[in-house]
């Protein structure tokens, strides 16, 4: 994956976008928006066959695979200079990571609160920030700061079906799609870019776009199969 991909989770994305929009807008900056229609049939990673259990395992919440991340493959140099340290959150709830996809900028600290009545052990073995938070109980939280761009695969050591993605971007031109598949990337300086649509582990589609000099809106829809 290119090194320039990375956004915020659904709710947090809105906060981040609001912050971005409230900042100083470059002259002629435009907006890229659209909808990502995920038509891929994705099967969640389930727990292993519970062959050695003495009974039926406790059920867990389903994973929302429809969230995608749309981002610019490359960005103007100024986009890398003004990244403010931020804070984001990935819950552990009903044996599921919520959100399943989190997109942040470099320097963001992510909190991992445990909201279940059982242990979780959040870890990541590869990528820009290997970490292992150990086991901690309900109501407790531990944090990780991500200082390098990349894709972080997050797992729980205790619950094999639990997994999530954190996309760490070195620029701010990205967005996580909402529940309706819509996204919006604001304050984009005029120019030619490649827009990428990422879903569940890899870039599924990309396309060149042109952001005009008149603060225009660029519409870009994706259908991921």
């Amino acid at each position: 994956m290119p090194s320039a991909l990375w956004p915020l989770p659904s709710a947090l994305a809105l906060v981040a976008l609001a912050a971005v929009v409230s900042g100083q807008t470059p002259p002629g900056a435009g907006i890229i928006r659209g909808r990502v229609d995920v038509r891929r049939v994705l099967t969640p990673v389930e727990r292993r066959p519970s062959i050695s259990e003495l009974g039926t395992p406790v059920p867990h919440d389903p994973i929302d695979f429809t969230r995608s991340v749309v981002y610019l493959e490359s960005a103007p140099a100024a986009a890398f200079a003004d990244l403010e340290p931020q804070r984001a959150r990935m819950d552990q709830r009903n044996a599921t990571f919520v959100p399943h996809v989190l997109a942040i900028t470099v320097g963001t600290t992510v909190d991992f609160p445990n909201n279940d009545h059982t242990y979780h052990n959040v870890f990541s073995l590869r990528g820009p920030k290997p970490f292992d938070l150990g086991r901690y109980a309900a109501g407790k939280s531990r944090s990780v700061r991500f200082d390098r761009p990349g894709i972080v695969r997050v797992f729980c050591e205790i619950h094999s079906h639990m997994s999530a993605f954190i996309l760490v971007f070195s620029h701010r031109y990205f967005a996580v799609t909402g529940s309706d598949g819509r996204y919006q990337i604001g304050r984009v300086p005029p120019g030619r870019y490649t827009l990428m649509a990422w879903n569940e582990g890899s870039v599924r589609e990309s396309r060149p776009i042109l952001v005009p000099e008149d603060q225009g809106i660029v519409e870009a829809d994706f259908t991921l199969r």
Partner: protein
């Protein structure tokens, strides 16, 4: 030995390879073009889950029946394989027939043997809202905790706890005619022979075997915080059976309590007849001995974890009735193991383990009926990826009997599971 072999139309040595290749083909179909699955394979809209466990271990231990003076057989199992030199392949399946009925199975092969059904049972949840489960068939062990965590990375080391693996000199199909004959077999559990019953030499029994599951019916009641399980099975802890060889069923119970997050406490008890009717028929009983052939066991286990630590321990007290002897023969085992994660993907683990036996007194000698043994194992594990684990361990065994009384060995293992 009550071993069920599945008839295979492929050559014996090729069967495990066929299973593995079959899983790979399914995996390749289920996975995206770029990556192999890191989790089980889902088929039929999630109603069928297929998992796999593959492990290869090798060690400096080179037991050889042709060199008895050099062979300690400390890690031998009742399938006559060493846990430290073992190629194991297993395929598990969970078929959800309805929301309340599932069929679960595992086919397993060790060291190229023909695959055999390690687990084969149906799970029924009669009430949707009540935490009651019934399982019938070749079911998971009710007693203790270790047997149920041998999958994936459940065992932080390569060796098994003594209570679950080490072969005592007792057998279910042959018994000593008197105490002196039993004492002559001290430290020879890998190949014991007696005058009563089967005449050929064969491996003895562990206290609880982790390598075969029993056949019967099991019920679990209660929420996760406090659960009670009870099972009625054909065999016993030492000698699980598909077909019963005597009139006595084994009854096993387990109570498990989670008083707080991170702490699990368990207590188990079992009683069943372990001697085959053919063995009892082959002997002449001393006065008052009756037909006693029960195995009784009680055990406690605990697990505590916090931060990067995980500590587990189990204690088992076991008694076998021996109809040719006036007194019962007892065995006790305790182990404690700990795991600490040093950094992401890397952990260290250690286990201290002991197995003790009661003393028998004859006109000529007074000794424990089998040789007490102590084992220490320590090692490190590294996750090459989430479901690919490499381990290296050092194991030291000390035994008060047998031709080889001390044995140090180094072992390595590679495990993959999905």
């Amino acid at each position: 030995m009550d071993i069920v072999h599945i008839r295979a139309s492929v050559p014996r040595r090729a069967a495990p390879l066929m299973i593995f290749l079959g899983v790979c083909v399914i995996a390749a179909r289920a996975a995206s073009a770029q990556e192999l699955p890191s989790g089980p394979i889902s088929l039929a809209g999630g109603r069928v889950m297929v998992g796999a466990d593959v492990s290869f271990s090798t060690s400096t231990e080179k037991d050889d029946a042709a060199k008895p003076a050099e062979s300690g057989w400390f890690n031998y199992t009742d399938y006559e394989h060493s846990t430290m030199r073992l190629a194991r392949m297993g395929v598990t399946a969970d078929v959800r027939i309805t929301d309340r009925v599932s069929f679960l199975a595992e086919m397993r092969s060790e060291n190229g043997d023909a695959p055999r059904p390690y687990a084969l049972f149906v799970r029924v949840r009669p009430f949707k809202q009540r935490p009651i489960d019934i399982q019938a068939g070749r079911i998971p062990p009710t007693f203790g905790a270790f047997s149920r965590r041998i999958y994936g990375d459940g065992n932080p080391l390569i060796g098994y706890p003594l209570a679950y693996q080490y072969l005592t000199s007792l057998r279910a199909d042959a018994i000593p005619a008197d105490a002196d004959e039993l004492l002559r077999m001290r430290g020879r559990g890998w190949r014991a022979s007696y005058r009563v019953g089967a005449q050929t030499a064969a491996p003895g029994m562990p206290l609880i075997t982790a390598f075969r599951w029993d056949t019967g019916v099991q019920a679990r009641i209660g929420p996760e915080r406090l659960t009670a399980s009870v099972a009625v099975t054909n065999g016993t802890l030492s000698d699980p059976r598909t077909k019963d060889t005597n009139d006595g069923k084994q009854v096993t119970g387990r109570l498990q309590w989670r008083p707080t997050i991170g702490l699990v406490l368990g207590g188990s008890a079992a009683r069943g007849s372990y001697l085959a009717d053919s063995t009892l028929a082959a002997m002449s009983l001393p006065a008052g001995a009756g037909g006693r052939s029960a195995q009784r066991a009680v055990g406690v286990d605990a697990e505590y974890s916090r931060d990067h630590w995980l500590v587990r321990g189990e204690a088992v007290r076991n008694r076998w009735e021996m109809p040719t002897l006036i007194s019962s023969i007892n065995a006790s085992s305790v182990f404690v193991e700990g795991t600490y994660k040093i950094r992401p993907g890397l952990f260290a683990a250690a286990r201290i383990d002991t197995l003790r036996f009661n003393r028998l007194t004859t006109p000529t000698q007074s000794r424990t009926w089998d040789a007490p043994i102590t084992r220490f194992e320590t090692g490190v594990g590294y996750y090459v990826q989430r479901n690919l684990l490499a381990k290296g361990t050092y194991q030291y065994n000390r035994r008060d009997g047998g031709l080889v009384r001390r044995r140090s060995l180094v072992a390595v293992q590679l495990q993959f599971w999905l």
